[in-house]
Symmetry: C2
Subunit: 333 residues, 2 copies
Amino acid sequence: MTNSVIDDVYNNTLTAYAISAAWELGLLERLDVSDQPVDLADFAREHDLHAPSVEAIARGLAIAGIVVLGPGHAFATPGPLFADTWAKKGFFYWLTRGCGDLFRTMPQLVRNSSRTGDFVVRDYKAIGLAARDAGFSYVDPTFYKIIADRGLTYGADLGCGSGERLIKLAGRDPEFRGIGVDFAPGAVALATESVANAGLDQRISVVHGDATRMEYRPEFSQVDFVCCFMMGHDLWPREECLASLKLIGEAFPSATDLIICDTYRSDLPPTEPHPVFTLGFETAHAVMGQMIPSLGEWNEVLSEAGWQRADVVDFDLPPYTALMHLTRELPGA
Amino acid sequence: MTNSVIDDVYNNTLTAYAISAAWELGLLERLDVSDQPVDLADFAREHDLHAPSVEAIARGLAIAGIVVLGPGHAFATPGPLFADTWAKKGFFYWLTRGCGDLFRTMPQLVRNSSRTGDFVVRDYKAIGLAARDAGFSYVDPTFYKIIADRGLTYGADLGCGSGERLIKLAGRDPEFRGIGVDFAPGAVALATESVANAGLDQRISVVHGDATRMEYRPEFSQVDFVCCFMMGHDLWPREECLASLKLIGEAFPSATDLIICDTYRSDLPPTEPHPVFTLGFETAHAVMGQMIPSLGEWNEVLSEAGWQRADVVDFDLPPYTALMHLTRELPGA
């Protein structure tokens, strides 16, 4: 049987689905920690899974070299591509599980007649899990270092999601206080619960709010930094972003530091090799009708909004993702 | 920016989604027939599509070499992989559009606790469109030749779908008569309508029926052949298939010929190059809990059911797909 490049494109799609499934089912983790070949039938039994499906998923991994299958396809061991897959599994999960419905229905969503109301369906729980896995281990240390170096102790996290970021900061500094802001009622409820479970409700509060139209509240008065992770692009296009940044500056009158971490537009020509994520991120946002600014466009609008660039740290993973650290002099300082 | 094998797996998944979208939106066809570069903005305008999404889809094709993008990504022309993509587009459509929900939710469907009731969601309209495109041009001539060579004039099509197969046979032979049988009420309605639209309702009838428990009806008495396309595997496992074949033989007492065209199990080890479709077909059926017989298993059960093998034609596309032609001597003949 012959095999062409297009056949590989097809088979790689099955592999992508298999990576997401193997991660969600715990098979990737088992492969990562096990020092022996993983018995697939045992694994299925222990997790109450359908054994032929587990074997099919393992085959989807094996065809790309992520695992090697032993005698009779009964055993799996990590293959040459396992380590890279493990590092990037969150991006696959974002693609097929978080945005799977968006991409499946893309031909419909592209028709102007369908583009009304909430026309895009995404699985935000899966996207949250993916984002937490995909590269935050690389981003977090840079973030913590800025907070420590600048002596910041009171943060507002716009788009706080599960509240995990503020909880971690509170765990690192017993003086730290924070306010989580999110537009999604589900996130506000989840963050409130997580903060309470961590015993931090005296130090961290969670409020409902829209980052595009922030308004001052008395509890914002002492906030000394504002951060915003992986949602800054939602503030765009340019004029809307500029207006939002000005409102944020006014709503948090004592904030000297602004930290925005986001994936920016790559402007990568299709003839260049693409890293993981970029094509998926940019395609999904094109379909959603959300422009993604370039790093240059970010720099320019932040400057116009009165924030001075202190540092920009560019990450390899997630690719085309930067942590932008901005500062400002306060009038009374 | 570096790029690894896993990054290509990721990007190829976007390309697969882009192929399905470009086909459904008519962009692949425009590229196929146009002797000039396709202006993407014009194409979007003519079809009332969201232009940035069309550009993103074109980029998903370009990254794999299916199209080449001209200045400013405004124009697309067929690239080195276009011809192979055009030939295989139906398999991609089957994968991401027909079975997209199955693969997206695969991690759930693998859990035994979710495997009750109609646990698999597939888009049967998309699967029908895909199947019609994917390789039937290769299969049809072989089928027509058997009908003509054997002088067959009255066919029953089990799993007749849209009724297209019987309508085509009636178009080739003015004496031809047929009975379409399908289990899906939607298919019965569609086939009935298509037959009426073709002005063939005096020669072709459509009835509701289950191929796994066929029963004689007076109108079956003159049927001289039974055919069954792309659903024979639904009759398995073995004992159920044997029982179904015996009932089919009894329900059509004058049928001398049985023609089964189906994709069979490849038994291809993951270390071998895989053609398009095979991994998708076998993974989807594993998840659905439907065994796929090998060609050897088919031969054996057909023989035990009293059918003599006249010919087996194996196709390159769809891969691992055979047209099995069986005959039998009738007692009174």
